[in-house]
């Protein structure tokens, strides 16, 4: 992948709020044997919002790479970091992110992994089929 900043933002918002949202709503309804909660929904929104900031950082890192690319492996490392960041923030530092009510580390990891894998798979396949120009425009689909 060779994303641009605008492309990162557009792709993140689109995939998180479609594929990610569907998976999250399943979690909200307790479809995986988890306790029902709207927290999954709000956590998803925080992941998107923080992500817009991380995307800016990633674009800066990309300029140090000669090919200015972002291999799938780095996408995974970035996703790992973004998940850890939420754990550090909410689970360890105990910072209140309204309107989140509770925190369950185990279910967060399951939810986050499902969302992320769903988004990754969609970005590697469906996005290309629905938006044939997407890969030439650094991830911009609008």
């Amino acid at each position: 992948m060779t994303p641009t900043l605008l492309g990162r933002w557009q792709t993140r918002i689109l995939l998180m709020e479609t594929v990610g949202l569907v998976i999250t709503l399943l979690f909200c309804g307790g479809a995986f044997g988890n306790p029902e909660s709207s927290d999954y929904f709000w956590l998803l929104q925080y992941i998107v919002i923080f992500g817009l900031g991380w995307d800016y950082l990633y674009i800066q890192i990309q300029t140090f790479r000669w090919d200015q690319d972002w291999p799938a492996a780095l996408q995974w490392l970035a996703a790992l970091w973004e998940g850890i960041f939420i754990i550090l923030l909410v689970g360890i530092a105990d910072i209140k992110l309204p309107p989140l009510e509770g925190w369950n580390l185990g279910w967060f990891i399951v939810h986050y992994s499902f969302v992320w894998v769903g988004v990754f798979v969609a970005s590697q396949s469906l996005m290309r089929l629905i938006f044939p120009r997407w890969r030439f425009r650094g991830g911009q689909w609008l």
Partner: protein, 651 residues
């Protein structure tokens, strides 16, 4: 051969954008910089020769060469990236004959004498060229230039369609015409079909039916047989507009179905981790060609393709274009088309002038060859008898030749390679905060441009840049590179350690036959008395292809007839959607693609993925212009079309 007089310097370098050789002979003082106006016009009453070097790594006024007290001295003008002499940063330095000056991506060799005597320097010379090898064809290469066999009606600025019919020669009217019928044409036609055009609306004119025939021939000649891998990405698929599934996934699936899990997983890991944690995946040539064959049948290419050598292109007086072509020897026919796409590819091969001169003098076409010509006899002879090969050029083709010679060494160890390079490569190009890696004087990059040139940040930067800025950027990103492959690097290191592969630096002064009629190369090494003699059984020129418009008679005629602008690299000037704006004719549109448009809004024009980008831009432009039967490819139609592709149904 000419000698320089005192104070005169022969500069020679290879243009990092076009690969052309430049050899001006200039009198001191000589200034170098990015902006002509920023360099002094005269110094102490002497007129300054000002050399503009296009690169963001070059300062506006970068460095100065002067004749000072019997010395030729270089003085850096507080440039941002410095002046390097023989790989060392210097602010003020007395130069010797043969020194190498590095200014940004430019590597300039200097030749001069301080007293007017001594060794001669190489003569100024133009890059020489030869024809790209073609199959046996009933229609000769020589185009019927304007005036000879074409009817007088065709000489008008705008041709009357009735006048063409009046010639009694065959005339066909069609909506879409692709000139070239190579890969560039094929990809455009493929997209036209996917966007809604019917096969009977499209014609592709060329001299070979298989769209990859010429590409494949150049691959085979440069020693890439079907099982070897191309320098191309997994999702650069000429048969598939979506790039999905890519060749890695397809190859993994093939292996998986054969029960081979390990290679399958390896390909998937490669596309996942490339290029940082694993070597970049590249597809096998044979798999790419097979996929194109399948797509050609699916879109009705056999019906669309027509044999014919295109002679001339004109506007018509009813908002279309008339194309004259030869469907057979001494025959002329016309196609009148509403929309035209030009993708004629590389017209000629670059051939080093000293080698071309050798062949012309000796008529020996076996000892001195171009890597893109058929030259299997070189390997066959070497495998039988052993011998020495001099290799010139250091790009991907040179790499492949080294690998092939290494394979030949498995059969006969008495083969040695002398790799002749113009100059050492101490460090790679820089751009912004990044630098390209270098090893053993080879510069490495997975593909021929930084990856973000295809669809990332660098594509955007280039598209938004002015023509001058584009030249700077292309110089920074371009240059000769080879693929970063571990096995190949190990092979080179082993060769260097064991001595059967050697690298020599120098400027070739001449190549002449010795007593045994074998080519002997004389090179000018650094220092005052540095002429050395290199003997070899074969010389292989791997310096590349040339796509200047002037080298193609068809394009040259078009450019001359309509007074079309060229871009700074000497190729067709195109808009961001690859339209030749000056050729617009009422509703008629003409587009360019491939090597003939290099130097414009997109760097990687001659790659599979670049041709797809270009075709997409052009067809989106045609949709906007309401071209017949084309519908914009939206999310739904795109998915529908993909399903048809997957099921191998016609679009």
């Amino acid at each position: 051969m000419t000698s320089t007089s005192p104070g005169q310097v022969r500069l020679s370098w290879q243009d990092p954008v076009t690969g052309e050789q430049r050899n001006p002979l200039l009198s001191c003082p000589i200034a170098f910089g990015r902006e002509f106006a920023q360099m002094p016009t005269d110094l102490q009453g002497q007129r300054v020769a000002r050399i503009v070097l296009n690169s963001s790594q070059v300062s506006r006024y970068h460095t100065l060469i002067e004749w000072v007290q019997g010395h030729i001295r270089v003085t850096d003008q507080n440039s941002s990236n410095g002046t390097w002499v023989n790989g060392v940063l210097q602010s003020n330095y007395d130069l010797s004959n043969g020194d190498l000056l590095k200014i940004g991506p430019y590597e300039i060799t200097l030749a001069f004498t301080l007293d007017g005597t001594g060794r001669p320097t190489t003569e100024a010379r133009e890059q020489s060229i030869i024809q790209v090898p073609e199959p046996d064809s009933p229609v000769p290469v020589e185009p019927v230039a304007a005036g000879s066999a074409l009817p007088p009606a065709f000489q008008a600025h705008q041709v009357g369609v009735q006048d063409l019919y009046a010639t009694q020669l065959p005339v066909e009217e069609i909506d879409y015409l692709a000139v070239g019928a190579g890969l560039g044409s094929f990809i455009w036609v493929d997209f036209l079909r996917i966007f809604g055009a019917a096969p009977q609306q499209i014609r592709a004119l060329g001299i070979e039916e298989r769209p990859y025939a010429r590409y494949q021939r150049l691959c085979l000649n440069s020693q890439i047989p079907p099982h070897e891998r191309l320098r191309s990405n997994s999702d650069s698929c000429p048969d598939n507009i979506w790039g999905w599934p890519g060749y890695a996934l397809r190859e993994a699936w093939q292996e998986f179905n054969k029960g081979k899990l390990n290679p399958a997983l390896q390909y998937l890991w490669q596309v996942f981790a490339e290029p940082t944690f694993s070597q970049t995946y590249t597809p096998r040539a044979g798999n790419v060609f097979a996929s194109i064959d399948r797509e050609a049948v699916r879109i009705g290419w056999p019906q669309i393709y027509q044999f014919g050598r295109v002679r001339a292109i004109r506007q018509t007086n009813d908002g279309r274009y008339a194309i004259a072509y030869s469907p057979g020897r001494k025959q002329i026919a016309f196609v009148v088309a509403r929309h035209v796409h030009l993708a004629t590819g590389y017209p000629v091969l670059q051939f080093l002038p000293d080698l071309k001169a050798y062949r012309e003098q000796t008529r020996d076409f076996r000892s001195v060859v171009n890597a893109y010509e058929e030259h299997n006899h070189v390997y066959e002879t070497l495998e039988r008898q052993g011998g020495t090969v001099i290799l010139r050029g250091r790009g991907i083709v040179a790499s492949r030749i080294i690998q092939r010679l290494h394979e030949a060494r498995q059969r006969n160890p008495n083969i040695s390679i002398l790799h002749l390079m113009r100059s050492p490569k101490p460090q790679g190009n820089r751009f912004g905060k990044a630098q390209r890696p270098v090893d053993n004087h080879f510069e490495f990059q997975p593909f021929n441009w930084p990856k973000a040139c295809w669809g990332g940040t660098l594509r955007e930067v280039l598209e938004q840049a002015t023509p001058d800025q584009r030249t700077n950027l292309l110089a920074d990103w371009g240059g000769t590179t080879t693929a970063d492959r571990l096995d190949w690097k190990q092979l080179v290191q082993t060769g260097l350690d064991q001595g059967w592969y050697q690298i020599t630096f120098g400027e070739v002064t001449r190549v002449v036959p010795n007593a045994q009629a074998k080519p002997t190369t004389y090179i000018q090494e650094k220092g005052p008395r540095g002429e050395i003699k290199l003997e070899a059984d074969f010389i292989v020129d791997a310096t590349g292809l040339d796509s200047k418009v002037k080298t193609s008679p068809l394009l040259n005629d078009l450019v001359t007839h309509y007074n079309l602008p060229l871009n700074p690299a000497g190729r067709l000037a195109v808009a961001n959607d690859f339209e030749l704006r000056e050729m617009r004719n009422d509703h008629g549109r003409m587009y360019g693609a491939g090597a003939i448009t290099f130097g414009g809004p997109y760097a990687a024009v001659d790659s599979f993925l670049g041709l797809q980008y270009t075709a997409l831009q052009a067809i989106d432009g045609l949709v906007t212009a309401r071209a017949p039967n084309l519908q914009r490819l939206n999310g739904i139609s795109s998915c529908q079309q993909w399903l048809k592709w997957a099921q191998n149904q016609a679009p």
